[in-house]
């Protein structure tokens, strides 16, 4: 074995604790980075494969009135001949309440129906063909995760309502795997699949689904604009050639599962955090290596004096660096795979069952390359500089400087204050003695503190949203009627129900928004939960939400609407207050003026607001209602459920059909389902940063103690007790930690604002309210002080045990 290899092995052994810390620092952050990378690649692949396996439609053209199946077959044939259309099929879908054993469930069901002879070449209901399509007449297939939500089993019978309003008893024949839809529990909605044979005759269909490609292409296009253009052309021809009315054209994000973006945002945030932690840890390691190289300068001088060149010495230290990087990479691989598998559980959030959890090979290659290259690159400059040290410079090198820095000089003035403890003064001056080392430690800890406090503060922000939402939801039961009914009759019937204290009623009508002269395009997915639009009649007065543009509605105002920003962005993004817009009501276009834009967090509310008078004028019907908010005398779940049941009965007795009547708790569950991962992301980033910060502090204190070996010896010679020396060193660590907390203050405020805006927009369509979590600040300061005391302990122990003889022999 080469003697340099022997020296390398022994150098590593001599400073094993420092090398172990370096390996740990890189391994922890590489574990997070690598784990997230593996999960991201796996989830991306599995989701895309699963989603595309259902052959989703590029666009769904919804007709205002269903047409007989035979006519739809004609439309399909015509559509297939249109330029850019690869595939077309006719379908229908409807939302229904579900009754089991005579009891109406508080979970609605979205039912997808296709002809029994549908070849299922596109928009497949059953990606794995588990449920054997088609089910016989009177049978229904359920998506697997809808069973628990409905509380039914395969073989059970349930009653649903068909689009024509008839009750239909169906037996649950089997479950299917349909990864094109968001999971049932998240949307609080069940999914069922029927053959149109169950719906009686004539079979009526109202959806023309197409797969669109770029002109001349053979694969479905990934460009939404291309899809919209092809679908728009088909829609125009339906209206022009067939005299049909297109209610809306649904063009969701091509090739993207409805919840794909959430997983992407979550994992990419975590990946960015992991990369930041990795970068910081490699900077720390480069710094630790630099200290080590600096300590070796006298040895470099000797080696050069006996004939070694800079290149040879440089290679020696490069091998040392690579060994650290390789050990860390090796150590991180196993846990990274574990973290990756854990995070791949997010596939549940997408309703996707993985075919394989093995990440693609390139992700492992990236982890190994990053693990080996990043520390080496970071250490390259100190490595080259040290290996180029001349013999003369090496001979002149005396290790840690004795000359105090400027900061120490400034702090020396504090010594004039008699009441200050001399140990504290000394610790304070020593802390800033090596400014670069000081700022590295403070910076690393401050990064961790910033992310931790921002994460917890964002959690406070989301809690504030929940509390605000709860404070606004003062009603107890929500009722939806199957058809609009006279306001007075409905409110009277409900007011008489025992337990009801107050009733609010309004009308909600599905609509679609289009710019003047164009068909209405939406981003709605087939589950209708991601972008459906409805017009709500409202009480005038003050705007219920923050007004972004224009004004709120005036009493009795007609032809005037207010939009929320979600609906505007999903339909015609450049619309503003003062613009005219077309709303399709029952398929017929009506022209309105936008008087204001408001900010709302949830798209489910409908997104368009008008006065009751305005809607009545536009539809040419009397003022009616189909939505109720009911206040009850008790606010417990049982009272709400009982009242909901009684309202159902009372309205039925008055000849009004109830679509659903449910306690508001289910809506709470649906709205809180989306934001949980945010906190996990930030705490997931803060954890490795905290570990790296603690290692940075431990390394800094260890280097400080080593630099000052002689000083500690002198202190002992002057009569200092080991406990006094120990106290000084621990105090230095605590000062560092407290400084990091002060330094983190402004970045934490800024990061909270930045993430509150960004993540709030992504997950809730509006910035989160700005909150700084006081408990988070207190917890972090406590953790930093405790962590610094622990991280400093080893160095303090060493300092307190340095003997005078050792100190004087130290060069």
């Amino acid at each position: 074995m080469s003697l340099l290899a022997v020296k390398l092995r022994r150098d590593l052994r001599a400073s094993w604790s420092r090398f172990a810390l370096m390996v740990l620092a890189i391994a922890v952050s590489l574990t997070v980075f690598g784990g997230v990378l593996l999960a991201w690649a796996t989830i991306g692949r599995e989701t895309e494969n699963a989603y595309l396996g259902t052959e989703p439609a590029s666009a769904t053209i919804v007709l205002d009135e269903p047409v007989p199946a035979e006519q739809m077959a004609d439309l399909v044939t015509q559509a297939r001949e249109s330029p850019g259309v690869l595939q077309a099929i006719g379908r229908t879908q409807f939302s229904t309440e579900v009754q089991v054993d005579g009891r109406t469930l508080d979970v609605p069901m979205l039912v997808f129906a296709a002809a029994p002879d549908d070849p299922m070449r596109m928009v497949r209901f059953d990606a794995r063909r588990e449920g054997s399509w088609p089910p016989a007449s009177g049978e229904i297939l359920l998506r697997g995760d809808s069973l628990d939500l409905l509380g039914v089993n395969v073989g059970d019978t349930m009653t649903i309502k068909t689009p024509s309003g008839q009750s239909l008893s169906v037996r649950v024949r089997d479950t299917v795997y349909d990864p094109s839809l968001a999971p049932s529990p998240q949307e609080q909605r069940a999914y069922g699949y029927l053959s149109t044979a169950s719906l009686g005759s004539p079979v009526m269909l109202d959806q023309l689904k197409i797969q669109a490609s770029a002109p001349g292409g053979t694969e479905p296009s990934r460009e939404r604009a291309t899809v919209a253009s092809v679908a728009g052309e088909v829609g125009d021809r339906l209206q022009r050639d067939r005299g049909l009315t297109v209610e809306e054209i649904q063009v969701p994000r091509p090739y993207a599962h409805p919840h794909q973006w959430q997983a992407d945002v979550f994992l990419l945030s975590l990946l960015a955090g992991g990369a930041a932690a990795l970068l910081l840890s490699t900077i720390l390691v480069a710094n630790m290596l630099n200290t080590l190289f600096t300590r070796q300068i006298p040895q470099i001088g000797i080696m050069k004096a006996i004939g070694a060149g800079s290149g040879r010495i440089g290679r020696f230290y490069l091998v040392m660096t690579l060994l650290v990087a390789a050990a860390a990479t090796l150590l991180a691989l196993g846990p990274a795979i574990g973290v990756g598998r854990l995070l791949s559980g997010l596939l549940d959030m997408l309703g996707v069952q993985a075919a394989s959890l093995t990440a693609p090979w390139w992700t492992y290659a990236v982890i190994v390359a990053v693990g080996l290259a990043l520390p080496s690159l970071m250490a390259l400059w100190p490595l080259i500089r040290t290996s180029r040290t001349t013999v003369r410079a090496a001979i002149d090198h005396h290790g840690g400087g004795t000359r105090p820095g400027k900061a120490t000089g400034v702090l020396a003035r504090i010594g004039g204050i008699d009441r200050l403890d001399r140990d504290l003064v000394m610790a304070l001056r020593n802390t800033v003695r090596r400014p670069a080392r000081f700022w590295l430690s403070v910076g690393l800890l401050a990064c961790a503190g910033t992310v931790f406090v921002a994460g917890m503060s964002l959690n406070s922000g989301t809690q504030a949203v929940d509390e605000q939402r709860k404070s606004q939801r003062t009603w107890d039961v929500e009722v939806a009627l199957a058809d609009p009914a006279a306001t007075e009759a409905v409110t009277k019937a409900v007011s008489r129900v025992p337990g009801v204290t107050r009733v609010q009623a309004w009308q909600r009508t599905p609509t679609s928004v289009a710019a003047t002269g164009r068909l209405p395009f939406t981003r709605t997915y087939p589950d209708q939960g991601h972008g459906s639009v409805a017009i709500n009649t409202v009480q005038t007065g003050r705007s219920p939400s923050k007004l972004l543009e224009g004004r709120w509605l005036k009493p009795g105002e007609t032809r005037a609407i207010v939009l929320n920003q979600i609906t505007r962005d999903n339909s015609v993004p450049d619309l503003g207050a003062g613009d005219d817009v077309r709303l399709f009501l029952d398929g017929k276009p009506t022209t309105w003026r936008i008087v204001g834009i408001i900010e709302e967090r949830e798209a489910g509310g409908g997104g368009v607001y008008a006065t009751a008078e305005g809607l009545a004028q536009a539809t040419g019907r009397l003022q009616q209602v189909n939505q109720l908010r009911v206040f009850t005398d008790g606010h417990d779940e049982q009272t709400r459920k009982d009242v909901a049941e009684r309202i159902n009965t009372a309205l039925a007795a008055s000849g009004v059909t109830v679509k659903s009547a449910a306690s508001i708790s289910r809506s709470d569950a649906a709205s809180s389902g989306h934001l949980g991962p945010v906190l996990a992301v930030l705490l997931g980033v803060a954890l490795p940063l905290g570990v790296v910060g603690a290692i940075g502090l431990a390394s800094t204190m260890s280097a400080n103690v080593l630099d000052r070996t002689r000083e500690f010896g002198v202190m002992h010679a002057l009569g200092a007790r080991p406990s006094a020396v120990r106290r000084i060193v621990v105090t230095e660590g605590i000062i560092l930690a407290l400084t990091s907390c002060i330094v983190a203050a402004v970045p934490a405020l800024a990061l909270t604002a930045l993430l509150g805006d960004g993540l709030g927009e992504l997950f809730q369509n509006a910035p989160l309210p700005y909150r700084i979590s006081a408990p988070a600040v207190a917890i972090w300061v406590g953790l930093a002080v405790l962590g610094s005391a622990l991280a400093t302990d080893a160095a303090a122990t060493r300092a307190s045990r340095i003997t005078v003889r050792e100190a004087l022999a130290y060069l």
Partner: protein
């Protein structure tokens, strides 16, 4: 006789915050092959600076330094390292052995760097050299476990590893007791007897009895030279 060292009109100026410090002031001297020369003087007289120039560790502000046939100014750092390994053996006051290598490995490392001695012969030669300087039994130990005198002997063995024609020693006895110092100087005498040129920088006053020539420096100038141009 052939010249081992030729220093001509060398000035070495160290810039400092004030006026600068003139370590060597137009110094010239020549040393023939096989001479055993002591450079003496008080602290600050320029003797260590001169030794550093001779070893190619430092470069003069002006003037030329030729050692073992090479004009040191013309060599780059890496070339200097290779030249030094082949031509010069260096001995320091504080021994400067690598702490994590054993004594024999320290000697072999010098051979590894230069590559002059065939690989298979290195360990044997290192042991021979250690035997020769009287510490053969310490070969497998780490430097920290040896006495000062033993460490200096190990350093001398290392300096001889590549059989250099010139030995340069900076205060080689400065950190040793008088008996050990005498023994080390005697060893240098033996090496000189083999024909090796030896230059020792020292402040020892009684070295004259051991060396063949003594050059005294004061303020960077030669003020006395007992045997200029005379071989020992």
């Amino acid at each position: 006789m052939k010249k081992s060292i030729s220093v001509s009109d060398v000035v070495k100026d160290y810039p400092t915050a004030g006026e600068g410090f003139l370590a060597l002031d137009g110094l010239s001297l020549e040393i023939a092959e096989g001479q055993f020369v002591a450079i003496v003087g008080r602290s600050g007289s320029g003797k260590t600076t001169l030794l550093n120039l001779l070893a190619g560790i430092d470069r003069p502000t002006s003037g030329t330094v030729r050692v073992e046939g090479a004009d040191l100014a013309s060599l780059a750092e890496t070339e200097l390292a290779a030249w030094r390994g082949r031509n010069v053996g260096l001995v320091f006051q504080f021994f400067q052995l690598l702490p994590t290598l054993t004594v024999v490995e320290n000697v072999m490392l010098a051979m590894d760097f230069v590559g002059k001695v065939p690989t298979g012969e290195r360990r044997g030669r290192a042991r021979e050299l250690l035997e020769r300087v009287g510490i053969g039994d310490q070969a497998g130990k780490l430097p920290a476990t040896l006495s000062g005198g033993q460490q200096q002997r190990a350093a001398i063995a290392r300096a001889l590893a590549n059989d250099p024609p010139l030995l340069l020693a900076d205060e080689p006895t400065g950190n040793l007791d008088s008996a050990t110092a005498d023994a080390v100087l005697a060893l240098f005498g033996e090496l000189n007897d083999e024909g090796r040129t030896i230059v020792v920088v020292t402040h020892e006053r009684d070295i004259r009895s051991v060396v063949g020539r003594e050059i005294r420096l004061v303020d960077g100038k030669v003020v006395a030279d007992t045997g200029a141009g005379v071989a020992s």
